[in-house]
Amino acid sequence: MAHATQVGLQDATSPIMEELIIFHDHALMIIFLICFLVLYALFLTLTTKLTNTSISDAQEMETVWTILPAIILVLIALPSLRILYMTDEVNDPSFTIKSIGHQWYWTYEYTDYGGLIFNSYMLPPLFLEPGDLRLLDVDNRVVLPVEAPVRMMITSQDVLHSWAVPTLGLKTDAIPGRLNQTTFTATRPGVYYGQCSEICGANHSFMPIVLELIPLKIFEMGPVFTL
């Protein structure tokens, strides 16, 4: 989850998110360089005591400031497209889970074997234990294995929702009448939070997503219910 006053991206939990963080740093560096250059030129223009009334031809400079931005754009586009195609790679998943958005909770279906179906509601403030996260913790978490490609099928029963987990680099819209597929592979165990990312009514901010990623050996032991 994000800590208070966090501005940057959360630490990556999947290889795609690691690539996205690297790309984000690369693009942001280019943006900072351009902004600094422009502000510096502006500063010089505003503070100079020189005057000039006779420039009428600047062919070389115009060529440079046309070619250079084109090169910069190519330098941004190439890694971007590389990651875009990486997210679309065919990978045979080991596990399929369905996530169905409702107003205002998620239903998860584990139906590869048998049928485990449950709802995931946000914990109301009165039900929070000490240490629980307000507006983020849920009653039933989505438990998944680490290092196994997981296929998520996301849809909605009523209005638009969006299933997002920033640390995995995932955000997929839950659209009624459509079954969107997304895959991910988590690289480390832990508890990861996300929130509904498409406005869906009064309690849009109160239907979070919590993933609990555990080692495969423990996942294989089957659901363990604790009271």
């Binding site: 065919v90 080991s94 099928m153 849809t155 459509r178 079954l179 969107n180």
Partner: protein
């Protein structure tokens, strides 16, 4: 009807519907629906010919894994009432 315990693989060998190149895009609704139709068509053809319906279990597993259960239940209800729109 289909024994879930019998379908469970040995521990450590998880299986789930593989990538289907007929449906490469993000919207997998056609994948789910097609397997549902194929399952019922397979059942109908094989029972009509008096053969075992064991090969149809593949389609059952695929659509059971991919389709939201509420959709499957409503389609089954429609089939039972004779108002299902698909061709089976």
């Amino acid at each position: 009807m289909l024994d879930v315990e019998a379908q469970e693989p040995p521990k450590g060998k998880w299986s789930t519907p593989p990538f289907d190149p007929r449906f490469p895009s993000q919207n997998q609704i056609r994948n789910c629906y097609q397997n549902f139709l194929n399952y019922h068509r397979c059942l109908k053809t094989r029972t009509r010919r008096g053969k075992s319906t064991q090969p149809c279990e593949y389609y059952f597993r695929v659509y059971h894994s991919l389709c939201p259960i509420s959709w499957v239940e409503s389609w089954n209800e429609q089939i039972k009432n004779g108002i299902f729109a698909g061709k089976i």
